[in-house]
């Protein structure tokens, strides 16, 4: 048997984390991207830079600050404790929050590009055809931005699957709770169990290749249906 039960659990947990994170990111990222694409405010550049920070920061830095703020003395920790939720460090919920921060730019930037490419014209046409702004967003912007949403979802999902540093900082290595595939590979290497590491690592290479292949194929198709 190439994969142990612990490996399976880790893969499943990874997929669960990535799916949940992607859904949350699409919900949070869409309004942020819409605002960044439309605003003329001076806040656009500082906010855009903050969203892009995870692109350049070492994951350990994000993980460190999240660990501190979600800990018993941090502001998130204080909030969750006052709500009776305890602290989020070393929990699955903590991992989800960390992943949302970590993968945010991978979702916001493709969406922002898509919204900017659409421009004002289709919205103005919709307005003169009696569609209110919400109506126009759902019937014109969403369908026109579909390739952007697809790219955002794939990148957000894949990037969360590949995360390691943030998980290790705030989630630790708890089997079935916070032990994701990348951490499990690390465990195998630590215990000199290279054969097991190969199976998981090879699986992730194949997975990443397929995701990127899907992404690039989707891009070239875009031209055909536009």
């Amino acid at each position: 048997m190439p994969l142990t039960q612990a490996d399976f659990d880790a893969v499943l947990l990874t997929l669960e984390l990535a799916s949940l994170t992607t859904v949350l990111l699409l919900l949070i990222g869409t309004p942020i991207a819409w605002w960044l694409a439309r605003t003329g405010s001076w806040l656009k550049r500082p906010l855009g830079a903050i969203v892009a920070l995870p692109l350049v920061l070492p994951p350990t830095v994000i993980g460190f600050y999240l660990l501190v703020s979600m800990g018993p003395h941090g502001f998130i920790g204080q909030l969750t404790q006052s709500l009776g939720l305890g602290t989020l460090t070393f929990t699955f919920s903590g991992l989800v929050i960390g992943s949302v921060f970590y993968s945010l730019p991978f979702v916001v930037q493709p969406l922002q590009n898509a919204f900017e490419a659409i421009g004002r014209a289709p919205l103005e046409a919709a307005a003169t055809l009696r569609a209110n702004p919400w109506d126009a967003f759902f019937t014109v912007v969403l369908p026109l931005a579909k390739p952007g949403f697809l790219t955002a979802a794939i990148l957000g999902f894949a990037h969360t699957v590949g995360e390691f540093g943030v998980v290790l900082m705030i989630g630790g290595n708890i089997p079935g709770k916070t032990q994701v595939a990348s951490v499990q590979i690390y465990n195998h290497v630590e215990t000199m169990n290279y054969a097991q590491a190969h199976w998981l690592a090879g699986g992730m290479v194949a997975f990443s290749f397929i995701v990127l292949l899907a992404l690039y194929s989707g891009r070239s198709n875009k031209r055909v249906w536009q």
Binding site: A121, P122, E124, A125, A126, A127, T128, L129, R130, A131, N132, P133, D135, A136, T139, V140, P143, L144, K146, Q226
Partner: protein, 380 residues
């Protein structure tokens, strides 16, 4: 954008002024100021004419509510759409306008049929006075319904754009240079449909154009804009003849004359057009048209010359009795524009000041006009 603190009134306010459109807009940008006051008839086609940068499109966007002028007032046939003094601004999606964009601006992800239905299904069924089939037939787009906009020609896209705007049964149809992006062949393809709109539907149209030909062919009322201000506004023929307008000083001063077909000679392919209020006829070679059909012709000032007597033995077809109204010297002081009355219609002649003095032209003088060239504008 500043969020309006005052709540918008739930319903659009009714005001006096059925049968008219009144608008006043003041828009200030760093490099451009639009400051116009318009009073337009509540029916027919009004043209907003001017060079690019004169503020035509800005003005149209204010009518649609796509731009919010800092100061403005707009009422359309008794509906109040904006009054900045009262803090009223009806947003674009609540105004009963149809907007035809310069580049059609169709939804790329929807078929022609779904584009047409988009506005149609967003108005209450009871308000729909134009059926899908009717608009499709009027614009001749029945064969395009299942196509995507990306597969249409420019002329086809523009016709779909017009049908889509019409299907919201607008109280005002706004057209932003709908022919500007088309080549001559496509223009000639779309123009007859625009004329049909005018004849078959009772929707006032505000038509933006920088083409004198389009304006002369389509409009009933003309507004001339120059650098964000109204230079002139009035019924088409009077306004075209007003000699104090900047565009009149250019090479293309012209008059538009209405008449009806009186006779057709198939042997010489010669069409005779009787002008209203006189027995005089204009003749030109043309394809056959039925007698009695109303037509509109355009006569350039440089194609009109004057003669004191009815010249015999000339190859010119068109020799009409006329009366001098008034005149004006052109900037170069070598040429004159003479405003003439032929029956109920007015024409304009451009002659040299030398000829003007030699003929001793004076007010109410009876003379003959010789028309070298006539072009038919509306023929359907």
């Amino acid at each position: 954008m500043i969020w309006p603190l005052r709540r918008q009134p739930a319903a659009i306010q009714a005001v006096a002024g059925l049968g008219e459109i009144r608008g006043r807009f003041k828009v200030e940008h760093a490099d451009f100021i639009l400051d116009v006051e318009l009073h337009l008839p509540g029916r027919g086609i009004s043209a907003l004419f001017g060079h690019s940068g004169s503020g035509k499109t800005s003005c149209l966007r204010c009518f649609a509510g796509l731009d919010q002028p800092s100061e403005g007032y707009l009422q359309v046939n008794g509906e109040l759409w904006q009054d900045s003094d009262q803090g009223i601004f009806v947003p674009a999606h609540k105004r009963s306008v149809g907007y035809v964009f310069q580049d059609a601006n169709l939804f790329a992800h929807l078929s022609v049929r779904r584009n047409l239905e988009y506005g149609h299904k967003r108005i209450p069924a009871a308000q729909r006075r134009i059926a899908l089939e009717q608009a499709v037939e009027l614009l001749g787009i029945g064969h395009l319904l299942e196509r995507l906009p990306g597969n249409l020609s420019g002329g086809e896209r523009q016709r779909v754009g017009i049908a889509r705007a019409l299907l919201t049964t607008p109280r005002l149809l706004l057209m932003d240079e709908p022919l500007a992006s088309l080549d001559l062949k496509r223009k000639l393809e779309v123009l007859p449909y625009l004329e049909r709109l005018h004849q078959e539907l009772d929707i006032p149209i505000l038509y933006v154009s920088h083409s004198p030909d389009e304006v002369a062919r389509l409009a009933d009322h003309l507004v001339v804009l120059e650098e964000g201000r109204v230079q002139a506004s009035g019924p088409l023929k009077e306004t075209l003849l007003r000699s104090d307008l900047p565009f009149m000083f250019e090479e293309d001063a012209e008059a538009v004359v209405d008449g009806s077909v009186s006779h057709y000679d198939p042997d010489y392919r010669l069409l005779s057009i009787r002008l209203s209020g006189t027995d005089a006829v204009l003749q030109l070679t043309h394809a056959p048209l039925p007698a009695g059909k109303p037509v509109r012709v355009k006569i350039k000032a440089r194609d009109v010359s004057l003669s004191l007597d009815q010249a015999e033995g000339t190859s010119l077809l068109n020799l009409l009795p006329a009366r001098v109204e008034h005149w004006l010297a052109l900037d170069n002081q070598a040429q004159m524009l003479v405003d003439l009355r032929v029956g109920d219609e007015r024409m304009i002649a451009r002659i040299t000041r030398y000829s003007f003095d030699r003929l001793g032209i004076h007010a109410q003088q009876a003379l003959w006009v010789q028309v070298k060239s006539v072009s038919l504008l509306a023929s359907d």
